[in-house]
């Protein structure tokens, strides 16, 4: 890395078929996944790890097959909770960030409280949430939302402030209202921060939905994880965890895709 002149030259890309492009793009990821699976299978075989400690990929695949129906059935509620929590949590975080950026007293007053609330373990909150919202979808969505909320708040506050003084001068001279500055400038320049936050949230909302199901649910991947854990159904446990992780990877990929579509400009100066 210490050698000079390794900066890749921006060569004009020959027009390849998009499909091929995409395949090459995913290639390393697929290779890495395949490699890890092989390694894992190898370790399990070599050390003769018993299945209840860590099942082999093959055993997990078997569990996927045996429990396809169960997994499918439990996937949907978790997906729903995660997706709605994602929307709700990020929306609230963005709105709060907008408020904080326009009102520094509000920021100073409520940011510490947001930090505080964020640290209260969900599980400690659970009994109260159950008391207030009962046992349906509502508390799960709230928990999933709560858990994505904070990173987005922090990033978005930072992002909305990441406007260059020169641009603010321009908007002042145009006598733009705070609302216009927000809409025409801050929002755009916060996008890199926002998308970083949404990427984080895309995985934490899944965690949130799962954790939320632990406060009492008969269905969903979280419930299945508890069931599998306490009944020593290791392959099912792993299959479930994988399903949840895949959900997160897909949501992450969707956010990355949206980012690539939305941020097409390049900054022309040092930021």
């Amino acid at each position: 890395m210490a050698e000079a002149s390794q900066i890749p030259m921006p060569v004009p890309a020959p027009r390849m078929s998009r499909v091929l492009d995409a395949a090459i793009d995913r290639g390393p990821a697929l290779a890495a996944v395949a490699g890890l699976l092989l390694l894992w299978q190898g370790v399990v075989w070599f050390f003769e790890v018993p299945e209840y400690m860590a099942p082999s990929p093959v055993a997990v695949l078997g569990a996927f097959q045996d429990n396809a129906g169960t997994l499918w059935l439990n996937f949907w509620p978790t997906f729903l909770e995660a997706a709605l929590g994602f929307v709700a949590g990020n929306l609230v975080a963005i709105l709060l960030a907008v408020w904080f950026v326009h009102n520094s007293t509000a920021e100073r007053a409520f940011f510490p409280i947001a930090v505080f609330v964020n640290t209260i373990p969900i599980i400690a909150l659970a009994p109260i949430l159950v008391l207030i919202f009962g046992n349906g979808f509502a508390p799960k969505i709230i928990i999933a939302g709560l858990i994505c909320f904070f990173p987005t708040l922090v990033n978005m506050v930072r992002g909305l402030k990441a406007v260059s003084p020169a641009t603010l001068d321009l908007m002042r001279v145009l006598s733009a209202s705070n609302w216009e500055i927000f809409w025409k400038v801050r929002l755009q320049s916060s996008l890199p921060f926002l998308f970083a936050a949404l990427k984080i949230a895309s995985t934490t909302c899944v965690i949130g939905a799962i954790v939320a199901e632990w406060i009492g649910s008969n269905f969903g991947l979280g419930a299945l994880i508890i069931e599998a854990t306490f009944n020593f159904r290791s392959p099912l446990l792993y299959a479930t965890v994988f399903t949840a992780a895949l959900l997160a990877v897909v949501m992450f990929a969707l956010v990355s895709f949206a980012e690539a579509k939305l941020i097409r400009w390049k900054s022309s100066d040092i930021h």
């Binding site: 321009l170 001279v173 006598s175 400038v185 755009q188």
Partner: protein
């Protein structure tokens, strides 16, 4: 320090439409950097004032103070009978910044349209496409800033400043990045706009001929600290053509300005 008035007549009652700068100090870094010291100047309604001065003498700072972008440490500024803040809120200014300051996610055309979308939009306004054509960017309306050359970006910023037909136009080295031909063309355009609209124009430049050719008045600032060196009327006919630059009067004026600048 005496008041530098337009006609060199300190007793004249201030024109209600003028920009009046009164014993202005501007400091930075908690008072340790004095950018402007005791600057007083009175700019008549509808005047075209060019500002000359060595690099770092406070030209941009003076314009920024007038536009309410930088606070006065001492002294007062009066813009058409209002405080700079109110004048700004009323959208009396357009400002061409020294850096083009385009929004990188907007195309050339969208950047020119920005003033129409914010701050109430303004009543009278020019057609953004016409303005882009005026500055020679027809056909590049949809280019993003990073796809434009330095001079092109500056021209977009000029078009943006003209789109609202402002009462006061503050131009900070607008033509610095342009070749002489384009520059000459735009010089004439600016003069035409000034004559036709009665806009008050403050125009920072580093080119002495440009200052003399464009300015009805030249404001010369000196450095360390930034202060008024001279505020002089350019004794040339108001209707100027590029060829006038080869006249003896013109050369005399530029020679005088060059001498002054050397003293700064």
């Amino acid at each position: 320090m005496e008041q530098h008035t337009a006609a060199g007549n300190p007793a004249a009652t201030p024109d209600p439409g003028a920009i009046r700068v009164d014993h202005l100090d501007v400091t930075f870094a908690e008072g340790t950097v004095v950018a402007l010291k005791d600057v007083s100047v009175e700019i008549p309604q509808g005047a075209f004032v060019t500002i000359l001065g060595p690099s770092g003498c406070g030209k941009s700072t003076l314009m920024r103070a007038i536009a309410d972008l930088v606070p006065a440490a001492r002294g007062a500024i009066d813009v058409q009978g209002q405080s700079p803040r109110d004048a700004r809120a009323d959208r009396n200014f357009s400002y061409v910044f020294q850096d083009a300051t385009l929004l990188p996610w907007r195309t050339a055309l969208e950047n020119v349209q920005l003033p129409l979308e914010v701050g109430g939009g303004g009543d009278a306004h020019a057609d953004p496409r016409d303005l882009l054509e005026l500055v020679g960017l027809k056909g590049r309306e949809n280019a993003l800033p990073y796809e434009l050359s330095g001079g092109m970006r500056q021209r977009v910023a000029i078009a943006r400043a003209l789109v609202t037909k402002p009462k006061i136009l503050l131009m900070d080295e607008p033509f610095g990045a342009l070749d002489e031909i384009t520059r000459d063309k735009l010089n004439e355009e600016v003069l035409r706009i000034w004559r036709e609209t009665g806009t008050t124009i403050l125009f920072v430049t580093h080119s002495i001929p440009e200052a003399a050719f464009l300015g009805q008045y030249v404001l010369m600032l000196a450095a360390h600290p930034g202060r008024v060196k001279e505020f002089m009327k350019v004794e040339l006919p108001p209707e100027r053509r590029l060829a006038d630059r080869d006249t003896l009067e013109f050369v005399q004026i530029t020679a005088h300005l060059r001498k002054l600048l050397e003293e700064c």
